[in-house]
């Protein structure tokens, strides 16, 4: 479970990015985070990843308070959270396979486990035949699938996706959404920040809308919202 209690974030320059945010996400949920630019969506993900500390409030991931971790504890939090970003963030000179297996090397998984698991996730994201390719030899959608494979290879507790389809054309975006749905179906909680109205409207999942750092709407089977 992911829990936020009265979380506020004021950046050093005085910008109030989040105000008194209360949010509870149960295991296995699929949640869209929507809202206009500057609403605080990315800030929310950065707080969950302990990239930033909240100015006020408490954040709990999987029953552990994470808003005041020591720097040495942060890597262990991040191993429970898979991340995907708009810009893919792959290692350019590593193959697909190396990019994915790296996440397992980091946790020092046994070689046998790596050999078994990596092809499995590549199969799941539909890249089984591109394992030896470099990211530069792949399309944007394929690169995002590599990032997804890397994010889930260690079976994280939560998958955080910040505009994962932001750089992709609609059709490719839907391909990514299908993979996300598969991942969610296997029990992984997903938090996805997005501006893609059609996707949110079509999928009919829980929608949390932020505006000016406040949660203005939280619907179980919501839509992107009519104001946009």
């Amino acid at each position: 479970m992911l829990e936020l209690y009265a979380v506020s974030k004021i950046y050093g320059n005085g910008v109030v990015a989040l105000r008194d945010v209360d949010l509870k996400v149960n295991k296995g949920e699929f949640v869209f985070i929507v809202g206009p630019s500057g609403a605080g969506k990315t800030t929310l993900t950065r707080l969950i990843l302990a990239e930033e500390k909240p100015t006020k409030g408490q954040i709990i991931v999987n029953n552990k308070v994470v808003n005041n971790l020591r720097p040495s504890e942060i890597p262990y939090l991040r191993r429970q959270i898979g991340t995907v970003f708009q810009d893919f963030r792959l290692m350019h000179n590593w193959t697909v396979e190396e990019n994915v297996s790296f996440a397992m090397k980091v946790i020092e998984a046994p070689r046998r486990a790596i050999r078994k698991r990596v092809p499995e996730v590549l199969e799941m994201v539909g890249l089984a035949n591109k394992a030896k390719h470099l990211p530069t030899q792949l399309s944007g959608g394929e690169q995002q699938r590599v990032a997804l494979a890397r994010a889930i290879v260690n079976q994280p507790y939560i998958l955080l996706a910040d505009e994962p389809t932001g750089n992709l054309d609609p059709e490719t975006a839907w391909g990514i959404m299908r993979v996300l749905q598969d991942i969610n179906a296997q029990g992984t909680t997903i938090l996805m920040v997005t501006h893609a109205k059609n996707i949110v409207d079509e999928m009919r999942k829980r929608v949390v809308a932020l505006e000016g750092g406040r949660i203005v709407r939280d619907e179980t089977r919501g839509a992107y919202g009519n104001e946009n």
């Binding site: 990843l49 990239e51 720097p71 040495s72 890597p75 262990y76 939090l77 991040r78 191993r79 991340t83 963030r89 792959l90 290692m91 000179n93 790296f102 996440a103 090397k105 980091v106 946790i107 020092e108 070689r111 890397r150």
Partner: protein
Amino acid sequence: MRIRTWAFFTGQAFSSMRRNSWMTVASIGTVAVTMIVLGIFLLLGGNINNIAGNIESQVEVSIYLQDEITSGQVDDLAQKFAAMEQVALVKYVSKEEALQELREMYGESGDFLAGLELDNPLRNGFRLRTHRPEQVLEIVPTLRSFDGVAEVQYGQGFVEQLFAVTNVMRVVALGLMLGLASAATFIIANTIRITVFARRREISIMKYVGATDWFIRWPFVIEGMTLGLVGSLIAAGLVAWAYSAAVVNLAVTIPFFPLVKPWPFLLGVSGWLLLIGTTIGVLGSTLSLRRFLRV
């Protein structure tokens, strides 16, 4: 950590060096040059120490006896010398022993000593050593007053000046070495900072995946260590080669110049160069990483 993880780190370090081959060569060269200069200082230092040590061991009084005295008188003198409170050591040196010592000192170039045993021009005598070098002055007049003593020689005055000079040289050499070592650390830190800077994107990706700081750091540390080690190996090789050649050449041109024998002296010097070079590499890489690990 698992061996395989270390293999991964090493692989990372080497592929980084291969990718930045230009920088790699530049920093190995820098370390090598610095370590060569450091090596020269170590060689100079070792030789200065050696000269100082030689001279210290030569702070002794040589007493030459008149040719005609009896062995009874010699024994008598030996006892009198030993009884003096400043005297630490008394050694009788017959003229045959003195000749033998000369032969050993000159080695192969001592041809001119051949045949001297038939008509040995040297004299029987004693060598005295005092507890402290400056006590030599106190005892010399007494020594001269003994019957049967022909001549007393000592190296006072010169010795003290030399010690003062060598002490200053030691301090200067140490200061220069420290300066050089920090300059080399700075240069390696800068080199690695460039590779780290080029890879800051990769570092931040690693942090998102949940890599610990040490997981990220090790490849760079290994890289710095390798740069330092290879650079200092080159330096140690060159320094050792040059010194051995110098010892051979000087033995021909200035036969009695007291250079320290290459073995095991060079082993120590190379050991220090490797140690310092590798440390500099590690230090440089850790310093340059500090800023980039805060993601």
